[in-house]
């Protein structure tokens, strides 16, 4: 194995992945906790280590706007952001996806203002879940790095051509130092390949118009195309995951099942909390408890069939949401999964925990208590409170 193991933060690893991907254009604006990515990338640019034209924009709105202009021009385009930055991009997220521009965006999860907060929760990316961006969540630094590299192939796939955001947890993963395997430059270059252009603005011999006024005659048809592209993305995510495994050994699917096949109780969760939960699963397993975990990787498109199949054998599941969907019946992950379970032969007892907002910590004892709650639900066959707010002071 020529690849090196390196102790590195999530932001550094992702900046390194971007350097290896070597996009033609990057337009980004610094925001905590994503800032190191922009700083590190500026160094790569200043040292002439990349071909990238780096646009140091004056806002995230212009970052995404410039990405749209650059991607439509016909080349590989990246940016990165967090929380309020993503919120400022919001209008243009939809323009990017509707124009079918495969922009790649590492997205460091952070709570949205207000009040202003810089720590992790998933309210930012969850707010963008209907923007027609593919959404992939990463548990740790290695996954953030690997997912960023795979994201290029997924977004640029001719059957997909949708933008993609790769999430990882603010501070916990973005600033946490972990020992990861960084791949060799030439192998990453080979894996991501050349950018496959489609309708580039710079092909002045074949002029095209992007972004027309699209009224009731055709808007719906264009949205239908996007829905189809999103549907196809699931298959592509799996294909690219397989290819990645073949090239580099690590396996990526739609979600990770952790000691789940014979489990009776399980937690469903995204990102770094899954790492904490795995420890708890191992510990409870040594005591003979049949517990497991489903860590979702792909949130958009939502793999509802596969999830329903995988969860239906369980007796009780706790769905952990690190974001609130105000006024909804539970958090976004909960509503998706509960809806998906209607496709299953058997629906396990299910309960939602809204946790960790604004970076509120969740530890192993907390997660063990959730498994204990599930045990009570299994015993009594009753869910007393469907949506719980975990770790908030009354």
């Amino acid at each position: 194995m020529n690849n090196k193991m390196t102790a590195i933060t999530g932001n550094e690893a992702v900046a390194y992945a971007i350097k290896q991907i070597n996009p033609d254009v990057m337009a980004a604006y610094p925001i905590t906790p994503q800032t190191d990515i922009v700083e590190k990338y500026s160094e790569y640019v200043a040292d002439g280590l990349v071909n990238t034209e780096f646009i140091t924009v004056e806002s995230e709105h212009s970052a995404m706007s410039a990405c749209v202009g650059a991607a439509a021009a016909g080349g590989r385009v990246m940016t990165a952001t967090s929380a309020n930055g993503l919120a400022l991009m919001f209008e243009i997220l939809y323009v990017a996806s509707s124009n079918r521009l495969p922009i790649i965006m590492p997205m460091v999860n952070r709570a949205l203002s207000g009040p202003i907060n810089i720590h992790c929760d998933h309210g930012d990316s969850m707010a963008a879940r209907d923007s027609s961006w593919i959404q992939i969540y990463s548990e740790n630094v290695q996954e953030a790095y690997d997912n960023t590299i795979q994201a290029v192939r997924i977004a640029e796939h001719m059957e997909v051509r949708l933008p993609i955001m790769v999430m990882f947890d603010g501070f916990i993963t973005s600033h946490g130092i972990e020992c990861v395997e960084l791949l060799e430059d030439n192998k990453v270059a080979k894996f991501v390949g050349k950018y496959p252009p489609r309708y580039p603005l710079l092909d002045i011999d074949h002029p095209v118009t992007y972004g027309p006024l699209d009224l009731y005659d055709y808007y719906f048809e264009h949205k239908r195309q996007q829905i189809e592209a999103m549907r196809k993305a699931k298959k592509v995510v799996l294909e690219i995951g397989k290819e990645f495994k073949k090239a580099f050994g690590r396996e990526y699917k739609l979600f990770e099942e952790y000691r789940l096949s014979d489990a009776e109780r399980a937690i469903v969760v995204l990102s770094s909390t899954a790492g904490t939960a795995k420890e708890v699963v191992d510990e409870l397993r040594t005591k003979g408890e049949k517990v497991g975990l489903l860590k979702l990787r792909l949130f958009r498109p939502f793999p509802y069939k596969e999830i329903a199949q995988t969860l239906s054998h369980l007796k009780a599941i706790a769905i952990l949401d690190r974001s609130a969907s105000f006024g909804a019946f539970g958090g976004p992950l909960f509503t998706e999964i509960r809806s998906a379970l209607l496709e299953a032969d058997k629906i396990p007892h299910n309960v939602n925990y809204i946790y960790g907002l604004g970076g509120r910590d969740i530890n192993q004892t907390d997660i063990a208590s959730i498994y204990a709650d599930l045990e009570k639900i299994v015993k009594t066959s009753r869910v007393e409170e469907r949506v719980k707010y975990f770790g908030v002071r009354e």
Binding site: S98, N99, R100, L101, R161, Y199, H206, P207, V208, T209, Y210, G211, P212, D214, D217, Y218, Y219, E221, H222, R224, Q225, E228, A229
Partner: protein
């Protein structure tokens, strides 16, 4: 009005992209007109002032000479007649034409 058959979602370029550059030329806006510019070829000096001020690209010029007016797009604003330095263009009510 020209009409393009409305196609299904599998038949059109993705993302609302229009790959037929300048195809609005097939869309008629001439029906908006209530007055029609008519050019007196005798008076016209081909100075092209009407051409440079026309909002609708409707003064047809070939080799520096005016060949006519594109009535399928001219909306009858009357700028050409107002600005013509030799008053070679007159605006005439559409009702006076039978075509």
């Amino acid at each position: 009005m020209s009409d393009i058959k409305k196609l299904g979602w599998k038949e059109i370029p993705e993302g609302g992209l229009i790959a037929k550059a300048g195809n609005s030329a097939t869309y008629e806006t001439g029906s908006w007109r209530s007055v029609r510019p008519v050019r007196d070829e005798e008076k016209c000096t081909n100075c092209l002032i009407c051409w440079v001020y026309c909002p609708d690209c409707s003064i047809l010029v070939s080799d520096g000479k005016i060949k006519g007016i594109d009535y399928s797009h001219c909306k009858g604003c009357g700028i050409c007649a107002t600005e013509c330095p030799v008053k070679a263009i007159k605006m005439i009510n559409e009702k006076e034409f039978t075509d």
